[in-house]
């Protein structure tokens, strides 16, 4: 992992415009003097740590006293919270009492360390289930406490949700990524969709030379069209369906290339199994490249997306689908599965196409490759769509708005000086 210093707020001016930066500064002005604490369970790895590593320095740069605390635990704690994660996503998970006791006692231990800081804060944002019990372990808290759920909880396994709801319902508010994820709770449920960082290795503009390098690196033909899906090897991402779509489309575009780029699957038995299925489906087709890339190959993935003509994300189940956002940001039309948050991002004929089958994906690939002007037009629109809606600066604005709303009561309209 590269240990980069997080960019300051002004670094984003060229990407989003000075009006957006100025607005963030004005919102932040109203929060000067407030103490904000974020708490999660890991400093590195995973989407939550990635977003906090960006958001916290930006909030600090805007003059808000913001800190980021991480709770720690032993193996059993993480076994338990992994079970929560799976259960909240709808898998049947039965956690033994021993693991739940470890979960609670780990939170007690962490509360001993964090209590003074948390009880003194104006706003505490607790990310995901791992630190959720901290609220009842800080009885002298004076600020507003918010539970931020980054997980797709649209259809949770009920016993797991019932257990966690006991903690979550004590909060002043919660935040979900999509309206479909909201659950019956006795407090306001704010909606803040995720975002991408345009200055991160995964999304930053790359020199042409670096983009071209992936052709030789992976044996790709720069003169032939290319479709890319970036996803771990998981059945919900339907990589086999992507290969079926590719095979249907190659009848009309014989030189078409397909890149399926995913993470290494050594620690994930199911991932390894799916990878084998994908290899079997690809057979000996030399125009299909199946790439297992290391977790920090962000610039390589960035270059592959930029080198492609079309980005595909043919998921059959998806939370939000940040790889869709990344593809759109590279100015590529995205062919996306008609599910979850992909529907928020892929708008037929405007930013790409939603599909329900490999046949549908094949048809849209053929359409876009034959209609180069449409492909470029949709790609340009896709990029602007992300610029206005799904960049980190929008995410930050919504956090600031939420904090102002929390500190000014429940009125629908809050008039500041």
């Amino acid at each position: 992992m590269t240990n980069q210093k997080a960019p300051g707020i002004h670094s984003y001016t060229d990407v989003v415009g000075s009006d957006v930066i100025s607005q963030l500064q004005q919102l932040a002005e109203q929060l000067q003097g407030k103490k904000v604490v974020h708490v999660n369970s890991t400093r590195v790895g995973g989407g939550v740590a990635e977003i906090l590593a960006k958001l916290v320095p930006l909030m600090q740069d805007l003059g808000i006293e913001t800190s980021w605390e991480v709770i720690t635990g032993e193996d059993e704690f993480y076994q338990c919270t992994k079970g929560f994660h799976n259960g909240l996503q709808g898998n049947v998970v039965n956690l033994p009492r021993r693991l739940l006791e470890n979960f609670e006692s780990t939170n007690v231990q962490n509360a001993e360390k964090l209590r003074p800081q948390l009880e003194d804060a104006d706003i505490v944002i607790i990310h995901d289930p791992q630190p959720a019990p901290l609220i009842e372990l800080c009885p002298k808290r004076r600020g507003k406490w918010v539970w931020r759920c980054h997980i797709d909880v649209s259809r949770p396994y009920r016993p797991i949700w019932q257990y966690l709801r006991n903690f979550v319902s004590q909060y002043d508010a919660s935040i979900f990524s999509l309206a479909n994820f909201a659950q019956p709770l006795p407090h306001p449920q704010y909606l803040i969709p995720p975002s991408i960082d345009p200055l991160s290795d995964k999304n930053v503009d790359l020199p042409k030379k670096e983009i071209k390098k992936v052709y030789s690196q992976f044996g790709l033909d720069p003169d032939s069209p290319m479709v890319v899906q970036v996803s771990r090897f998981d059945r919900f991402k339907d990589p086999v369906g992507v290969i079926q779509a590719f095979k249907l489309a190659t009848k009309y575009h014989p030189s078409l290339q397909l890149v399926l780029a995913g993470g290494t699957a050594t620690d994930d038995p199911e991932g390894a199994m799916v990878l084998e299925e994908v290899k079997a489906a690809a057979g000996d087709d030399k125009n299909i490249k199946i790439l297992s890339l290391p977790g920090d190959a962000h610039r390589t993935i960035n270059a592959l997306q930029r080198a492609s003509d079309i980005v595909i994300q043919k998921s059959v189940k998806e939370g939000f689908g940040l790889t869709v956002t990344e593809g759109l940001w590279k100015g590529k039309p995205v062919i996306g599965g008609n599910t979850g948050g992909i529907r928020l991002q892929v708008i037929n004929h405007h930013t790409g196409f939603l599909v329900d089958s490999p046949e549908g994906a094949a048809m849209r690939i053929r359409y876009l490759l034959r209609r180069q002007e449409r492909l470029e037009e949709i790609g340009a629109k896709a990029k602007e769509f992300v610029r206005e809606n799904f960049l980190l600066t929008r995410h930050l604005r919504e956090y600031l708005t939420l904090m102002l709303a929390l500190t000014h009561g429940k009125a629908e309209r809050i008039q500041l000086g």
């Binding site: 769509f385 919504e398 500041l416």
Partner: protein, 242 residues
């Protein structure tokens, strides 16, 4: 009396005047969406929920969602119509809901009644109610909106040429769209300042006001609206001078 935004239909009561003392105060706003937890899987459920849902939700689905991450749908002017088109695939319902003009109503209760009426008319026409899958339900949302002063003041209309392109998209929303539900005469803040009641400029800028009135705020994104307004101002002051 409250207008269709649910705020008192009187500038003096809102504390949101943009042109006190004959200067234009540039304001801005930021909005955060809130799930109400109420969802509908067909038009009948939408109608039933509409009977009792908080006015703030109706405001959100007609106006507030313009400030949310979403595609500015060029075809349908409110979330109900867009859902009828995309999820329900009911063209007639989408068209009837899409044509509802929120500015034609003096308050949100009237708007609610027109929505219910349009849905009931459509329900009467069909023998069967069409259902959508559970992950495509209509989620009734509401919002909190934070309005703040940018401390930027415009004293001369020609200064708008420089000021408008520098405004944030949400500031454009506030002055060009939100104002229609906030001002007594239902017009945007720019026209209100240039030619409205108590204008310091008399009818000097009537022509400019008419050009601004021609902007249809519903079929363009906020950035596009900013561009349209900036172009009108630039052309006007290039030709007329101060």
């Amino acid at each position: 009396m409250k207008n269709a935004q649910g705020v008192p239909n009187n500038k003096a009561q809102t504390g949101e005047e943009c042109a006190p003392n004959n200067v234009f105060h540039v304001k801005d706003c930021a909005l955060i969406a809130i799930a109400t937890g109420r969802r509908a899987q067909n038009l009948r459920e939408v109608r039933d929920i509409l009977q009792t849902i908080d006015e703030g939700s109706i405001y959100y689905h007609f106006w507030g969602s313009r400030l949310q991450p979403r595609f500015d749908d060029p075809e349908y002017l409110n979330d109900f119509a867009a859902w009828a088109h995309r999820a329900l695939r009911d063209g007639k319902a989408a068209e009837r809901l899409g044509v509802i003009d929120p500015t034609a109503h003096s308050n949100l209760e009237e708007l609610r009644q027109e929505l219910i009426e349009a849905i009931e008319t459509r329900l009467d026409e069909e023998e069967h109610v069409t259902w959508v899958k559970s992950d495509m339900q209509f989620n009734f949302l509401t919002s909190q909106i934070v309005v703040f002063d940018t401390h930027r003041i415009i004293t001369d209309p020609s200064d708008l040429v420089q000021a408008v392109p520098a405004m944030s998209a949400s500031s454009i929303f506030y002055h060009l769209i939100d104002a229609r539900r906030r001002t007594l005469d239902g017009i945007d803040d720019f026209r209100s300042w240039l030619s409205g009641y108590g204008s310091p400029f008399g009818d000097r800028y009537q022509d400019l006001s008419e050009q601004i009135a021609d902007i249809d705020p519903f079929f363009s994104s906020l950035s596009e609206l900013r561009g349209e307004l900036a172009a009108i101002l630039s052309n006007y002051f290039k030709g007329v001078g101060k």
